[in-house]
Homo-oligomer: 462 residues x 2
C-alpha cells in the first residue's frame, strides 16, 4: 500500500485538477449537475445560468475561480461576523487542528465558550451547543414541549426558523393560501408535510398584538412556546415592537407557556442580541451563525430551570439529546475567538457603519427618484421595492413582478458592480467592512436604482 | 481599540488559563455545571463523577489534561475513521483555512467530493450535503414524503436515527411500554412528543419478516418510506439478514413506498457501505460520521428521480431545503481526504483487524469462562452480557443489573486499563489501530471479564 504522504500528493493533484486545466465555473457546474440535484448543495447559492465557484476569500472580498473579486455583504448568510479567514481565527484553529477535531470526551474550550456567551445576556443562564441553527430551533421546540408538557407551538407567518418541519410552517405563505389574517392558515413548506405537524403549529401575524393574542387564546392550554425572531429577515427584516414582545411575554406568563427567541441571525444586533432592546427576557434563545466563527454551529441558551430538561444527571431525562459533532473543539475555538473579538466596541462600530450605509443608500434613493424603502436593525438591512417600509409580512410580500425587479437589481450588483448580497436584497455586515466598501455599495446601488427605475415606476403607478 | 493581534494574545492566555493553573477535570467540570445543563454538551460524554477533559489527541491515543493517555476504540462515536489529527487531513484543512471556511457561493471541492462518494455505491446517483447525521435522516424522511405524497414512516424498534422526533420514536422502548411484538407501540423518547408524530411512525421488529410485513400491510397506502439501519447499533449491532432486507425491498416496490437506509454509522462496513452486502439498492441513504473527516457533516444520497425533490431548478421545489454551513469547504476538504484514504484496501485491512480482535476477545471469553457474546460487522463490534448473541432488540435489551455489570466493565477498562469504548460496550475501529492496540484490548478485556464474572454468573444462574 502506498503511504498517506504519497496519497496526499495524489489528492492534492486531484483537488487542483480543474485549476490546472483552468476549468470555468460553468464547466464545474455542469459536472455538479451530474452528481448533485440541481448542481447546488444549498438552494441559497443557486443562480442561473450557474453559481460561481470560489477560489479564495479574505476579509470582505471573495474571489471566484474566474478571478473576479467581489465585495461580500452576504457573509455566508450573516454567519461571518469578521468576514473571511480572519487571521486570529485561522491561527487559533490551526493550533487546535493539531490536537484533534472531536473526541468522545469533553474539552475545556466548550466550558470557556459557554461562560463567554452566557455572560452576554442575562437570559443565558445555561447553554447547550448543537451543529446548526436548524438543530438549535428543533432542540428549543423539543425542550419547550418537554418542560411544559404541551404539544403545540405558535410562530409568526413568514418567519424563517430553519428546516425542522414544525418551524417552517407558513414560512412562504402567499396570497393564494395564507387565508384570513385573523386566523392565518398553517401552510406547509415541503410537499406532504404531515397533517399532525400542521395541526400543532399556530400561525399569528407579526407585530399585530390584538389578532395575535386572540389566536393564542384559542389554543391557550395547548401551547408549549411562542417562537419569535426579534427582527425576522423573511417577514421583512422588521423590528419586533416593544409592545408586541411585551404582550407575548405577558401572555406566556399568564398561560404557563414559554417565550422563546430565535436569535440565530439577530444576536449580532447588540452585544446581548436583539433581546437587549426589550425589558423582558425570553425563556430560551436559539443561537447559531456568527457564534461558530465560520464553522457549523448552533446553541440553545436560557433559564436554568427550563434547560434542566436536557440534564443527563437527572433521574429521568425529559429531553434526551446528543450529537456526534456538538461542541467539537474546532467550532468552540473559532467561536470563542470570533465572539471575544465581537465585543461591545466592535458591535457599536459595525452598527454605526451599517447605519451610515443606510443613510447613503437613502440618499441614492432620493437621487435616483425611486420608490424604495429600507428596513433593518444593527448591522443588517434589507431593500424593499415598496414606497413605504413594510410593517407586516403581508405588506413585505413581493409579487412576481416585484421579485423580478429585485432579481434584476441583485444581478446587476453581482455581475456589473461585483457586489454580493443576500438573495432577499439584504446586507449583513462584517466588522472587516470599512467606509471604502460602503461608498462602493452606495454608488453601485445608485446605478442599480437608475437601472430598475422605469420598471419600478411602471409597477407602482399601476 | 486594541488590535486583533493583541486581542489574540489575550485570548490565548484565557484559553490556556487552566493549564497554567493546572486545573483538574473535576474543577473544570464544576465550572461547566454552572453554565451547561449537567455540565456536558453531549449526553454521550456524561460520566460520573465527572467527564475528563482532553488536552490533545493523536492517532489512536487521547490524552486528558491530567496527562492520562488512553487507547481510543470509540473514535468520537464511530466518526473518526483515521483516528485523531491525521496529518493528511490536518495539512489539507490548514491550507483551506487560509482561503476561508464558508461562502455564499459554491466551492469546487463539494463537486469533487460528491463525485468521490457517489462512485462508492451504485445507489448513490445524486447527493446533497447537510451538517449532521440528524439533519441527514430528517432530510431523507422529508424527501421521502415529498416524493411519495405520503405522511408516515416505518422504523425498527430500538433503532437510533438521530434526534429528529419522527426518527427517534421507540429508540429506547422497554418492557414496560413496548407492547405486543406483533404490533409494537410507538414509544416517545422526549417528554410530550406530539401525538401526531407518534401516529405517523410505524414500529416493526427488526429482522422479523412475517411480523414486519403484517405491520406494514396494515398501513400500506400511508407509508412514505421504510427506514432501516443495516447494522443497527442500539438494536444490538445486529446484521440485517438478506431475507429481511429483500422482503422490505419487495414490499416497498409493491406498495409504492421507498426503502431508505441510515448508513451514518455503517458506511464503514464496506467500501460501498453495508448495503454492498445486499442484492438490492435502497432508494435513499443517509450518511454522516466518517465522511466528514472529523468535521460536522451529513448527507443524503440516492436515486436521481427521488433526489429531484430537492432540485432548486425545478418549477415547483417539492422539498425546499438549505443550510448555512452545508457543504462548507472545510468539511468537504477533510471529508475528501478521509474518504480517499479509506479506499478498498484500507477497508479490507481495518475489517480484518477488527475480526482478529473479535477472535482474541472470544478467546478471552473462554479463558475467563464468562457467558458473554459479541455481535457486529466490518470494523465494529459490541459486547453483550448474554450467553448467546442476541438476535432481536428485545433479546439485546439489558436489564438494570446487566447494564450495571456492563458499566462496571466499561469503568474498569477506562480507569484501570486506559481504554476508551462506546458506552454500549462497543468498539468502532480507526485505520490507525494496529495489532499492538488489539493485544492491549484483548488482555484488558480478559482482566475485565474476570472482574465481572462473579456478578455475571450469579445473574445468569438466576
Amino acid at each position: 500500500m502506498i503511504s498517506w504522504k504519497d496519497k496526499l500528493v495524489i489528492i492534492d493533484m486531484k483537488l487542483q485538477h480543474s485549476t490546472e486545466r483552468k476549468q470555468t465555473s460553468k464547466e464545474i457546474y455542469r459536472q455538479a449537475c451530474g452528481v448533485i440535484p440541481g448542481g447546488v448543495s444549498r438552494n441559497t447559492v443557486y443562480r442561473r445560468p450557474n453559481p460561481d465557484y470560489v477560489a479564495n476569500a479574505s476579509g470582505c472580498y471573495v474571489t471566484d475561480i474566474e478571478g473576479v473579486q467581489r465585495v461580500d455583504f452576504a457573509n455566508n448568510m450573516a454567519a461571518l461576523i469578521h468576514g473571511h479567514a480572519h487571521p486570529a481565527i485561522v491561527d487559533a484553529v490551526t493550533e487546535q487542528l493539531k490536537k484533534g477535531t472531536a473526541y468522545t470526551l469533553a474539552s475545556e474550550v466548550e466550558v470557556r465558550f459557554a461562560q463567554l456567551l452566557n455572560e452576554r445576556a442575562p437570559g443565558f443562564e445555561k447553554i447547550r451547543f448543537v451543529n446548526s441553527g436548524t438543530e438549535a430551533v428543533m432542540a428549543m421546540i423539543k425542550a419547550s414541549r418537554a418542560y411544559t408538557n404541551r404539544p403545540k407551538i405558535a410562530k409568526a407567518e413568514g418567519a424563517y426558523h430553519g428546516t425542522y418541519d414544525f418551524a417552517e410552517i407558513s414560512q412562504t405563505a402567499n396570497p393564494t393560501n395564507w387565508g384570513d389574517i385573523k386566523k392565518p392558515n398553517s401552510v406547509p413548506l415541503a410537499n406532504s408535510t404531515p397533517q399532525g405537524v400542521l395541526n400543532d403549529v399556530i400561525i399569528f401575524p407579526y407585530n399585530d398584538i390584538e389578532k395575535t393574542i386572540a389566536i393564542l387564546d384559542a389554543h391557550a392550554d395547548q401551547i408549549a412556546c411562542v417562537l419569535i425572531d426579534p427582527v425576522p429577515h423573511r417577514v421583512g427584516l422588521l423590528k419586533g415592537t416593544n409592545e408586541f414582545i411585551e404582550a407575548l411575554y405577558q401572555w406566556t406568563r399568564k398561560n404557563d407557556a414559554l417565550l422563546v427567541f430565535d436569535e440565530v441571525v439577530t444576536l449580532r444586533v447588540n452585544y446581548g442580541g436583539a433581546q437587549e432592546n426589550f425589558s423582558i427576557k425570553p425563556d430560551l434563545t436559539a443561537l447559531g451563525k456568527i457564534i461558530g466563527g465560520g464553522f457549523p454551529v448552533g446553541a440553545i441558551a436560557g433559564r436554568s430551570e427550563v434547560m434542566k430538561v436536557l440534564d443527563p444527571s437527572e433521574l429521568k431525562i425529559r429531553f434526551p439529546h446528543s450529537g456526534t459533532f456538538s461542541a467539537n473543539p474546532i467550532t468552540m475555538t473559532a467561536g470563542y475567538v470570533a465572539m471575544d473579538l465581537f465585543d461591545k466596541a466592535a458591535v457599536l462600530k459595525i452598527n454605526a457603519l451599517a447605519q451610515k450605509a443606510i443613510m447613503q443608500i437613502e440618499q441614492a434613493i432620493k437621487i435616483a427618484e425611486v420608490s424604495i424603502s429600507i428596513t433593518g436593525a444593527g448591522s443588517m438591512f434589507r431593500i424593499h421595492p415598496k414606497k413605504t417600509p413594510p410593517k407586516t409580512y403581508r405588506e413585505a410580500y413581493q409579487s412576481n413582478v416585484e421579485k423580478s425587479i429585485i432579481n434584476e437589481l441583485l444581478d446587476y450588483l453581482y455581475y456589473k458592480e461585483n457586489i454580493m448580497m443576500i438573495n432577499t436584497c439584504a446586507c449583513m455586515f462584517s466588522t472587516i467592512i470599512s467606509q471604502k466598501e460602503v461608498d462602493v455599495l452606495a454608488e453601485a446601488m445608485l446605478n442599480g436604482f437608475k437601472l430598475i427605475k422605469p420598471k419600478l415606476d411602471k409597477l407602482q403607478t399601476n
